[in-house]
């Protein structure tokens, strides 16, 4: 109860009885809102739970372990991109180039192994370098030239797509021609009745790592502070540009891992894959309750957001609906999620 009172806006200066009485008379709806405001990951969690139950009732194949395992694998790539996207959106930025960076990285890794005969571990390191370089370019343009991240990444999106096509000549590298290490992320292992892919495990490890860094370290707190109010952060002595640069670099590193997962998941490296991954990653972050204005949200919300999108797509297709309805549903989801988010935030006024 005390938590709800604290979240209910400016506490009365004198906690006189009438004031407390007033807070106690809050409607059930506003009480729900206060709880949702206190725990931002709660609303996507509820949506996910309801979606799973509803789709489970609609089609009994949905809740089978093979299907649930398939959903996690389908989510592993977007879920990983969503980590990078969350980091950047937390700083009040947006990255339209995440999908393009990932595809470019996957093409470089695959081609230098297959065509240039580089050992697979070295190729993965080269992939990491490509991811970091792409992040560094975005970060450099955002911090040095003070360009809006939207514009910067809109530009680099096109640059990276073009580079990918120029470099690869438009041809796909098949997984069967790659060393096993490159497609390792697609391999699965049994956990009881479920089959889990290495890619899903890698994604979850990334989530745990990034959540830890964001929640428990000074760097994480500075990321929130920079996204919340850049000038306030600067005046508080936070090196804003260095934080921004490190965020774009970290996102690049995460995307490089995403490229590895993508190669495993699709068992190929294709320059034409993942055109819609940019928007899907933003969708996951937004549905997960992270504010596009920066400074608020959590990486766990984005995982839930990615799972919600995955569950909707899978559930609707099992229900026999056309793929267009999946897209329609995702569109509705985004608008509903942001509306609910706005409603929850009214708590403070």
């Amino acid at each position: 109860m005390t938590q709800q009172q604290q979240a209910a806006g400016p506490p009365a200066e004198k906690s006189t009885d009438p004031a407390e009485e007033f807070l106690d008379r809050s409607t059930p709806l506003s009480r729900i809102r206060n709880v949702l405001h206190r725990y931002p990951a709660l609303s996507p969690a509820i949506v996910l739970l309801v979606a799973v139950v509803v789709f489970g009732i609609l089609n009994d194949r949905f809740l089978r372990v093979e299907n649930l395992s398939l959903i996690t694998q389908q989510v592993s790539v977007v879920g990983t991109l969503a980590i990078a996207q969350t980091l950047i959106i937390l700083t009040a930025g947006i990255d339209l180039s995440v999908g393009a960076v990932m595809i470019l990285t996957s093409m470089v890794v695959a081609q230098i192994t297959v065509n240039n005969g580089m050992p697979a571990p070295l190729a993965l390191v080269a992939g990491l370098v490509v991811g970091l370089a792409a992040g560094a370019l975005n970060g450099f343009l955002v911090t040095r030239f003070k360009l809006p991240p939207f514009i910067v990444t809109l530009g680099t999106l096109n640059i990276f797509i073009a580079l990918t096509l120029l470099y690869s000549g438009g041809s796909t590298v098949r997984g069967s021609s790659m060393p096993a290490l490159l497609t390792w992320m697609g391999s699965t292992f049994p956990v009881g009745p479920v089959r889990i892919s290495t890619g899903v495990v890698a994604m979850l490890l990334l989530y745990i790592g990034v959540a830890f860094i964001l929640g428990k370290t000074a760097w994480g707190r500075h990321v929130y502070a920079v996204g919340d109010d850049k000038e306030a952060a600067r005046l508080a002595g936070i090196p804003v540009n260095r934080v921004l640069m490190s965020v774009y670099l970290a996102a690049g590193a995460v995307l490089a891992v995403g490229a590895w997962i993508q190669i495993g998941r699709t068992n190929a490296a294709s320059p034409n894959a993942g055109v819609d991954l940019n928007l899907d990653s933003i969708t996951a972050v937004v549905i997960g309750g992270t504010s596009l204005f920066g400074g608020r949200g959590s990486v766990w919300g984005s995982l839930l957001g990615a799972l919600i999108v995955g569950v909707f797509r899978n559930g609707l297709s099992l229900a026999g609906l056309d793929v267009l309805f999946q897209t329609l549903a995702v569109g509705v989801l985004i608008i509903v999620a942001v509306s609910v988010d706005q409603w929850i935030r009214k708590v403070k006024s």
Partner: protein, 264 residues
């Protein structure tokens, strides 16, 4: 080291904690500061007043490292210093509360108090994994608020956006007071506050002074200035028009000097 100017009678011959000598700052053709000097002595509240565009904010920014003066020098306890960034001033014990508050709304009170100088856990958890000592910082934040007599902030885990204007200002002032070992600079601390909240902030200013911490106070509000200031530095057209005391001059005199209708 330059020769110290003749100190004002009110403050005797003590060594100033902070001195500015002939600061000049131009923005293109606009002259923000035109050779301003200022002395701040231990245990005093020095108010800086002036009309819009008189150079108050520029002066403060130069004193606190937010702007780099073109020429002129700064001395802290008689030692010449060069502030290139706000962190440099902070490293010399000068803490500033900026007009726009410089608090992060989504972070809680304790996080804001320690923003930019977070403390890590002792041992390998802190040194290798760089884990923050959240509990310790909350405990210290609470202790600091009690020490400063800020009773309106009971819970240091509340996000700052849930606080009233006065409470937010208290958080900002508390941060400055907690870490400012030599000087606390307050830029328009009562600008957006109601009567009651203004009084709380002014009381906080007096408490800081009584603990020996000198305060520089920038304000438009004459009653507030005359209420707490020991000396008043009047800026006009980029220069220091006069330095007066509430005893030697009235509010009307101060306004007249500020607007150029009179000289000290």
């Amino acid at each position: 080291m330059t020769a110290v100017d003749v100190p004002t009678p009110a403050t005797g011959t003590r060594q100033p904690i902070l001195q500015a000598r002939n600061l000049v700052k131009t923005f293109g053709k606009v002259v923000g500061l035109d050779g301003v000097s200022l002395d701040l002595y231990p245990g005093e509240v020095l108010a800086i007043i002036g009309d819009n565009g008189a150079g108050k904010s520029t002066l403060i920014k130069c004193l606190t490292g937010a702007e780099l003066p073109d020429t002129g020098e700064l001395l802290v306890s008689g030692q010449q210093v060069h502030f290139k960034r706000p962190q440099d001033a902070r490293a010399h014990g000068i803490e500033t509360v900026y007009q726009n508050l410089a608090v992060s709304p989504a972070l809680d009170v304790a996080s804001n108090l320690f923003l930019g100088r977070e403390e890590r856990l002792p041992g390998p958890l802190g040194s290798i994994f760089r884990v923050l000592d959240t509990k310790g910082m909350r405990r210290k934040a609470k202790a600091e608020l009690i020490r400063l007599g800020i009773s309106t902030l009971q819970d240091v885990t509340v996000p700052v956006e849930n606080l009233s204007g006065g409470q937010r200002q208290a958080v900002a002032v508390a941060r400055a007071a907690a870490f400012g070992s030599k000087v606390v600079v307050l830029d328009e601390p009562t600008a957006a506050l109601g009567v009651r909240e203004s009084n709380q902030v002014l009381q906080l200013v007096r408490d800081l002074r009584d603990r020996g911490l000198p305060v520089i106070l920038i304000s438009h509000n004459m009653p507030h200035v005359f209420d707490v200031a020991d000396r008043i530095h009047i800026q006009r057209l980029g220069k220091c028009a006069a330095t007066i005391t509430p005893q030697s001059h009235s509010m009307t005199d101060a306004v007249a000097i500020m607007t150029g209708a009179a000289t000290a």
